[in-house]
């Protein structure tokens, strides 16, 4: 019995030293149960007391690990590194430094470095074509930080400045309202005048508000494959344009999905729900190089969802 206990204790100590705290806890518990059941062990009470102390310390360690913040604020150095390592467009010929800066700022936000991200997005407000995206992300960061007042103040400041055109401001306002509603905050807190103006805005105006689509199921409503359904994963999405990869072996799809073909029955799978809608094939190109060489890249413009 002593040897058995020693062996399990050794395992428990090693698991603990490896940081496998739950595994260590299981082993300590096994030893405790064994000792409690056995009367022939010398110094039983002392052993139990020692093990219980170990368990208490272990529980404290587990608590420390589980309660550690998942996105603590990092140093400037770390944030600079995140921006550098996770802005991929810097390597693309077509992209600019501004695109890389935007991607760096988004990376900061994704790593939970919201204060740093707000600063970076703030710099990009100077760039006309990135202004609206940056502004939206600033508001998102404030709301993720639960700083509703900061978000409201920021929006009010933009409203009273001439940084944004009226159209740009409306786009931001619509999204801001939506974000506030999702957070369960009163949308009425956004300036009333802006609220009234929003009623006049065409929802289609804001392409960026299309949900993230992860897959689609296309059902042909005419032709030789009428009624057949094909499911495809979305490889890329930009606004209301989704890109899919079609294998060159999928002759049915390659033949049927020509540019301009209207797809009246499409199920769009998003992370939150499946939507029924329609789309139109806007582009179809054969991939010339890489692992997908020979396959086709198909773009579908979402018309309704």
């Amino acid at each position: 019995m002593n040897n058995k206990i020693k062996s399990i204790l050794k395992q428990a100590e090693l698991y603990r030293s490896q940081g496998l705290l739950n595994e260590a806890r299981e082993k300590y518990q096994t030893i405790l149960d064994l000792i409690r059941k056995t009367d022939q062990i010398k110094n039983k009470d002392k052993l139990l007391e020692g093990l219980e102390k170990k368990m208490i310390l272990l529980e404290k360690d587990i608590e420390l690990v589980t309660s550690a913040p998942t996105t603590p604020e990092m140093s400037e150095h770390v944030n600079t590194l995140i921006k550098k390592l996770f802005s991929f467009t810097k390597d693309s010929e077509k992209s600019t430094e501004d695109d890389a800066a935007l991607e760096g700022a988004i990376a900061l936000a994704k790593f939970g470095q919201f204060d740093g991200a707000i600063v970076e997005f703030g710099k990009l407000l100077e760039i006309d074509r990135l202004r609206v995206t940056s502004a939206k992300n600033i508001l998102r960061c404030h709301l993720t930080l639960e700083s509703k007042d900061d978000a409201l103040n920021q929006f009010a400041e933009w409203e009273s400045s001439d940084l944004f055109s009226p159209e740009q401001l409306e786009k931001i306002r619509v999204l801001f309202n939506d974000m506030l509603e999702k957070k369960g905050m009163a949308a009425s807190q956004v300036n009333e005048q802006a609220e009234e103006a929003a009623a006049e805005i065409d929802e289609q105006d804001d392409e960026e508000e299309i949900l993230d689509i992860s897959a689609v199921a296309i059902t042909f409503d005419s032709g030789p494959h009428k009624g057949e359904q094909f499911e495809l994963d979305v490889s890329f999405q930009s606004g209301n344009i989704i890109s899919l990869i079609i294998s060159s072996n999928d002759e049915v799809l390659v033949e049927s999905l020509k540019v301009g073909v209207k797809l009246e029955e499409v199920h769009f799978y998003s992370p939150i729900a499946i939507f029924r809608g329609s789309g139109v094939v806007s582009a179809m190109t054969q991939i010339k190089s890489g692992p997908k060489k020979g396959d086709f890249s198909l773009d579908i413009k979402i018309e309704s969802i």
Binding site: S7, K10, Q11, L14, Y15, Q18, G19, L20, L21, E23, D61, L64, V65, A68, P69, T70, P72, M74, V78, L81, I82, L85, F86, F88, D91, A107, K110, F111, D233, S235, I245, S289, G290, P291
Partner: protein, 204 residues
């Protein structure tokens, strides 16, 4: 997402160390950092949380020198292994060119290894990548623990659990002692550079 600068004849690729929490991914990089001083192109960066657990990633830049007339630079990353850091893991995996999957040889971690490999497959799929096609090697880490009397799985069992379908090169290892670490990296680099050559023709 390797970068190939044709004019400068430079190629930069990204290798990610993946695996369950506490399997030894960071220890792998620490060993490489200590043992490959000549190839290290900067400092190793570790972003940790409580209990020395990787919070975001570890990063180690390597400079391999000229291969077929091309300067080859490698960025080594580790992902956070803890289950709750799923989104960070996916973010770090973005643009990966090759993977070293570090599995824990301890019996008690058997299920975690399998779940982590499944998680890798899922995250690759999200980026439209295929676990059967991407350059990948397996490392069965912590083999040294057998000497301490800790129950570890046999290589055969680990092969059956993890490598039965994907059939990639695999190596026994001990990151604390350095055994198998160089071999795992070397094999992964070899596969990655071959793979990239098919895509980018960088040796021509």
């Amino acid at each position: 997402m390797a970068v190939f600068n044709i004019k400068k004849r430079e190629i930069e690729c990204k290798i990610v160390y993946y695996g369950p929490g506490r399997c030894g991914k960071t220890t792998n990089l620490e060993y490489i950092f200590k043992s490959h001083k000549k190839q290290i192109d900067g400092e190793m960066v570790s972003i940790n949380t409580e209990g020395d657990r990787t919070l975001f990633f570890d990063f180690l830049p390597l400079e391999l020198g000229k291969i077929k007339g091309c300067d080859v630079r490698v960025q080594l990353f580790t992902v956070p292994g803890q289950v709750q850091y799923s989104s960070t893991r996916k973010l770090v995996l973005k643009g990966v060119d090759g993977i070293v999957f570090v599995a824990d040889s301890m019996e008690v971690r058997r299920e975690k290894n399998m779940l982590s490999l499944k998680d890798l497959q899922h995250n690759l799929k999200e980026y439209n990548m295929n676990i059967f096609k991407i350059p990948l090697v397996l490392q069965y880490n912590k083999r040294d623990l057998a000497e301490e009397g800790i129950p570890i799985m046999s290589i055969e069992k680990m092969e059956k659990d993890l490598n039965r379908q994907i059939k990639v090169p695999s190596f026994p290892g001990s990151a604390v002692k350095g055994d198998g670490i160089g071999k795992s990296l070397q094999s992964c680099l070899q596969l990655t550079l071959q793979y990239l050559n098919k895509q980018l023709n960088w040796t021509k």
